[in-house]
Symmetry: C2
Subunit: 460 residues, 2 copies
Amino acid sequence: MAQNMAAEPGGQMHHEELVGAIRQAIDSGDATALRALIEEEHPVDIGAALEEFEPHQVWVVLDLLPLDEQADIFGYFERDFQVELAHTAPRAKLARIVTEMHSDERADLFNELSDEQQDALLPALAQAEREDIRRLAAYEEDTAGSIMTSDYAVLSEALSAAQAIEKLRHEAPDKETIYRAYVTSPDRRLVGAVRLQDLILATPKTLVRDLMEEGPVSVRVDEDQEEVARKISRYDVLALPVVDAENRIVGIVTHDDAMDVLQEEATEDFHKVGSVGDLDTSVRDASIGLLYRKRIAWLVLLVFGNLLSGAGIHYYEDTIAAVVALVFFLPLLIGSSGNAGSQAATLMVRALATGDVMLKDWGRMLGREILIALLLGLTMALAVSGIGWYRGGAGVALAVAITMVLVVIVGSLIGMSLPFVLSRFRMDPATASAPLVTTIADAAGVFIYFAVATAILFPA
Amino acid sequence: MAQNMAAEPGGQMHHEELVGAIRQAIDSGDATALRALIEEEHPVDIGAALEEFEPHQVWVVLDLLPLDEQADIFGYFERDFQVELAHTAPRAKLARIVTEMHSDERADLFNELSDEQQDALLPALAQAEREDIRRLAAYEEDTAGSIMTSDYAVLSEALSAAQAIEKLRHEAPDKETIYRAYVTSPDRRLVGAVRLQDLILATPKTLVRDLMEEGPVSVRVDEDQEEVARKISRYDVLALPVVDAENRIVGIVTHDDAMDVLQEEATEDFHKVGSVGDLDTSVRDASIGLLYRKRIAWLVLLVFGNLLSGAGIHYYEDTIAAVVALVFFLPLLIGSSGNAGSQAATLMVRALATGDVMLKDWGRMLGREILIALLLGLTMALAVSGIGWYRGGAGVALAVAITMVLVVIVGSLIGMSLPFVLSRFRMDPATASAPLVTTIADAAGVFIYFAVATAILFPA
């Protein structure tokens, strides 16, 4: 993204510029210049710039800063870079930074450390942090628990607005967001949520109970992270409280993490639609071996689909040998079938992912798709029948035109239905990738084409 | 999304349940039950449920509520539904609701109204709202200006913390977010941002000047909305200030709108990768005519690509006529070329969209892709050479194996490079759709296959 950070009114530097300036300051040992740079730029940008340096150089820079700023920048590093840095830091220093990190980022880092590193780090932490890390690190991946933070503020309903504000003032420096505090009953069940805004606006003696929103939207700790992110987006909230089976609050998921989840899930679906396995890392950083593994499985699987097309061709070898001109139209017809199928599949995969279309809409979508595909097929038939006539005469033209209508309809219906079928059997609809749909539609296209051509050119 | 709203601890009802309960209350004219329902459920869910009713029924429900709640629910309706409702409401009533709406949603609605409706509505509004609507509605689509709201709070640097809080208390009910107020100079230039949290924590006499973050990250009013959304995600902020060419603050873009933009843009890229034109509406609501138009252009265009494959086949008709068995492998080989190409294209399109990979990375990516494709091609060659031997003997097996390695490499390189090339010429990399890449790779595959086969089976 850095290429777009140039012309900022806020005075941000271009990524490369910032890297250059830091390098110069490190090389000349100019601590004042380094401090000034860091003061001026956003910690995200400092973090991105520092990732271009060696770990020992990064520590030189971080050591100049107060601990909270160190933790701030450290939290913005990619997880792999954090692990690399963790390797090169003395245990006590790492413990201090880890203690200051956001609890969700801290738990994620911890999960990436080797067993030895974990064992070395834990005793250096205070008991509260140790328990917090153990608790957060235990939640299953891709659940609300795995992305939540324990930095949230809790109030009891019997407090007055003034008391509540006072409590939040004390807790504020530690908490990820105090703009919405959660209200719990004496047995720690979630009963409400109250906005800082409303506490400030209220007369000081008003009770939290009378200011809070009762029974706020919440998510369960084992709920899928994508579902959680969608709810944050749906309800336009800064954060959603996460509760356990007894409705006790155990964490919050914040809007920025929700945004990251939605982006990750979109990337995952994107890759699936291109029939690439789940990468879990950026394409830029993925190793050649990893990329090979994520691609070969589908490629080989699809070969078997293509063999079906081959079998179809073999079955009609006599027709082909008699009218070789038919082969000219083969790529065109099966290609159109696959393309129409890819279009339909892509539309449905995304609509199912965003919740725009649901499983129960299948019937309605199918009816529409048949109509649309018929229109598409007729247009395409018109477009190619002239070429058919020119190359093979009336018979070939008729065979090509009829086939085109049929394959576009069949391809579209396959592409449109496959995501629903997968979803019905609780598989990810995005598995209905363009290559998979194309392969199936191709095979169907081969059989339709030669069956139609044989029937027209060699009537029994 | 409604199917997942069932087992909420917060007591939310299933969408269908809520629709049923509202219908029952409307039919029995039970205003108390209706009010209780609306009190209990989130306005988003009420909005989604009301969309299933006729406009006159919706007005029956809305009329029961205080104006701010009416506007709240109205704001959550889909734009089309808002327009439909606007048609059926008396001008004065519509004006009252529109006045209460968030300024960005109001401007979007206004843009959708017919000229007559706009002319009818404007005189019914107060001058401040009229000007605000005119101003916001004037910004070009997909820019920061088109998604920003004018509901933000501004402070001057000379205020004390106590004065600032007092000012925010008064403005709060109107402002979309007061958690971060913007600090401007006397000539309205943006000089800083201050968090409500820091105002509360500070001693009352501290000056805003000493509490604010100087030169906060901001965006220009004509900046692309996707870029704005990415920055909000990158800097993990609730909102970003929008400034004009003179660095005067003109609005803010909030995190929830940023999330919507990222989702929309992902959908758009998704559709492009499936070679479907930009829909601008949900697949569910799109008309058959619209979907036809968005799909036919690419399908017809791709026919010309496929004609190239046909031409290749025609060129090698003698070879085919002599060894008809070769056709058996045609779908397999060109299919694999297209599939490898789709994979590579999808990876690059998404990586370029998220900023994970940049234009300047092309060289590095190309080098890696050649290696990966070579490995993929060798594996695939191994997988199919046995079948080649079985069906056509050593010569065919050799031709198929060599072709496989070549087409997988060529397909991958086409798929990988096309998004970069498009991006280089300032076109959207997502135009490198799976069907487009498949079609190009197919044509290349035909020529490679028959050239190799002719060279091996009929050495000159």
